[in-house]
Amino acid sequence: MSFKDGEMQTISVLGAIVISIGLFAPVLFLTEKADAAKTKFDDMESIEASVAYKKEKQKQPQKQTSQPEVKKDTTVSHDENKKPIEGCKLDSECKPDEKCKEGHCVAKKEPKEKPVDIDQTLAKFHHNDDDENPAGKPVTAPGDFNGSEEGWAPTTKGNPFWQGFAKDIHENFSLPEISEANGIPVGCFHITPDGKIIDTKVKEKSGSPDLDQAAEHAIDAVKKLRNDNPTPVPTELLGAINRWICIRFDPKQAS
């Protein structure tokens, strides 16, 4: 059995459509299902920029500790053999190795400053061999000095630019105690390379009007703050600011 070219073409097209449907229908079905399961932000890059804030000082219970009073010794010396300090007005009234200071003869020699032992200072960074710090194990706990004279270990967690941004947001994110706080509003910023904010938008409302207002207030405040004192975006983040930088305003403390 042979087909003419026209017939062959028709069969080919029909066959291709059938194969395509057979191939891609399950793919499309699964993709749609997966999309539905995904949250709106799963396709966004999440930046680790949580703010390290101090836990507020607990006011109570707190006993005030009273340090023992330091009393100035105004009494007479009990050392009977000790000679009384002689009074003076001029250095010449004192011994050769003394000088007159505030009405009394005192030793001329000033205590010498101890020279800095550079070897001892650097010793804390010295390792006999690499086995002291096995690979894969952190050498410092968070908050410990990490050996860098420039900074502290936590500053290396996340990008400092985003950390600073998150800190500014957090400092301006205030919600009244009596206000409802359900949901998480999302606000976004358009940041320019010089660090200015040229546009903002509320991407999603929470459904709690006061919470949305608190988020809007924080957005406006940070826009003003950053435009008044812009922090240029680091080179490595320039790719990221081509898109909206979005903030999820979760009123609850991270657990």
Binding site: M8, S20, Q64, P176, D210, D212, A240, I245, C246
Partner: protein, 434 residues
């Protein structure tokens, strides 16, 4: 089919399949990926509320503004914003608001009002909900003072936000110390309209309001022995309720007003008793210990009494059933805790008391269920004898040698002075009648 035509068919098929793939790919939603930063934990604080004065600016409007400012500042809920920061044109707005103008100054709530010859109209706006008033009330001015009207409105505002009654219009009793005398006085919660309750030149101490608010019980030495009297707040001669030999002190009315808990030392040692409020007859003896037991305070449901006892050493707070039984110690901080009082908040078991800490006296609260303590005062002189507002939001107390202050019961905010002068024995009266 020759090899050439087969190759041709195959390439056509592949082309078609590619076209289908390309078509399905272009049907995907557009890429909106970007950076997302999580900011957790909003700072929680007082509710910023704006109280712009009426644009008319007449004396009555100014009086409303002044009373409302004091009320809402003392409420323990709000942060009253500085009018100097307001951006809105009040003359244009009149009784409405331009929400954005108020958002820009950080206001969450705005109260507007208009005083006319025979009425005052109030409106409350929630800025986040737009320019429709969330609450509107009109009050007739005849037969009532502007002060009373504003208090009623402010109680509505507090109730709107917290679902609790406000305390504006309630009164506070206290002992005013003079040279050689101590006088029982009462005043509005904000220090206005102070008046004398005990009209004798003797020593009068430890006032306690009746739950209805019409009477105040207090101990007077007018006949040398510290006897218990009950006087009407609107004047008249006080009635001696308990004149047992020795102490008749530290009275506290039961929540239903039928009984009084107090300290009697008729048998030699100060013990806690419950007597009938009508005739002073003893209902039951609550404590029986060789130590000194004083300062009883009823729980809001009347089921328990807190009191002070030195049975375990220094004075500490104990709680006992109001039908008697074995008391249990509840205060363990430091070695000196006195003058307990219960929070009236329903469902809570919280007491406030005076504690000595580092040589100073301060007010603390203690949740009897969670054992959580909150410090109400610190490094602000010697503060004693706390008393909760009728809704439990704030606490009034005496600051030695300075006067009477009000602070938020949760320890936040600043203390506000409501009475200047030497005062002790602070007792906050019941909620105002509607």
């Amino acid at each position: 089919m020759d090899m050439h035509s087969l190759r041709s068919k195959t390439s056509q098929l592949a082309l078609c399949a590619f076209a289908c793939v390309a078509a399905s790919a272009s049907a995907q939603p557009s890429d909106n990926s970007g950076v997302v930063i999580d900011v957790n934990g909003a700072k929680r604080g007082a509710y910023p509320i704006a109280l712009p004065g009426a644009p008319e600016g007449d004396a009555a409007s100014k009086e409303v503004a002044q009373i409302e400012g004091t009320d809402l500042t003392l409420a323990g809920v709000f942060k009253v914003l500085d009018p100097a920061s307001f951006l809105a044109d009040l003359k244009t707005e009149q009784l409405g608001i331009d929400p954005q103008k108020w958002k820009d100054v950080g206001a969450f709530g705005v109260v507007k009002y208009r005083v006319t010859g025979d009425q005052i109209e109030f409106r409350l706006f929630e800025v986040s909900k737009g320019n429709t008033a969330a609450l509107t009330k009109m009050y007739k001015r005849s037969g009532t003072t502007t002060r009373q009207i504003v208090h009623r409105w402010d109680n509505e505002v507090v109730k709107y936000y917290t679902n609790e009654p406000g305390f504006f219009g309630s009164q506070i009793a206290f002992t005013a110390k003079g040279k050689g005398t101590s006088t029982i006085m009462a005043m509005d919660f904000d220090g206005a309209n102070a008046f004398v309750v005990s009209h004798n030149s003797s020593t009068n101490i430890l006032p306690a309001w009746s739950p209805s608010g019409g009477k105040i019980a207090y101990t007077s030495f007018m006949r040398n022995n510290p006897d218990l009297y009950v006087g009407a707040t609107n004047g008249g001669r006080p009635t001696k309720i308990s004149g047992q030999k020795g102490m008749n002190t530290g009275a506290a009315f039961s929540p239903d007003g039928s009984k009084i808990a107090l300290t009697l030392s008729k048998d030699g040692n100060p013990e806690i008793y419950i007597i009938n409020a009508s005739d002073g007859s003893v209902v039951r003896r609550i404590t029986n210990d060789k130590s000194i037991d004083t300062s009883p305070a009823w729980s809001p449901d009347g089921g328990q009494l807190a009191f002070v006892s030195d049975r375990n050493g220094g004075p500490q707070i104990f709680v006992v059933s109001s039908s008697g039984g074995t008391p249990r110690q509840v205060s363990f901080n430091g070695n000196y805790n006195t003058t307990p009082t219960w929070s009236p908040k329903a469902g809570k078991h919280v007491i406030a008391y005076t504690t000595r800490d580092g040589g100073q006296y301060d007010i603390v609260t203690l949740d009897l269920d969670t054992k959580a303590m909150t410090r109400v005062t610190q490094n602000e002189g010697n503060n004693e004898e706390p008393s909760f507002s009728p809704n439990g939001r704030v606490i009034a107390y005496a600051r030695q040698g300075q006067g009477i202050y009000i602070s938020n019961a949760d320890g936040t905010g600043k203390a506000t002075k409501i009475y200047s002068g030497s005062a002790t024995g602070v007792d906050w009266g019941p909620a105002p009648k509607e």
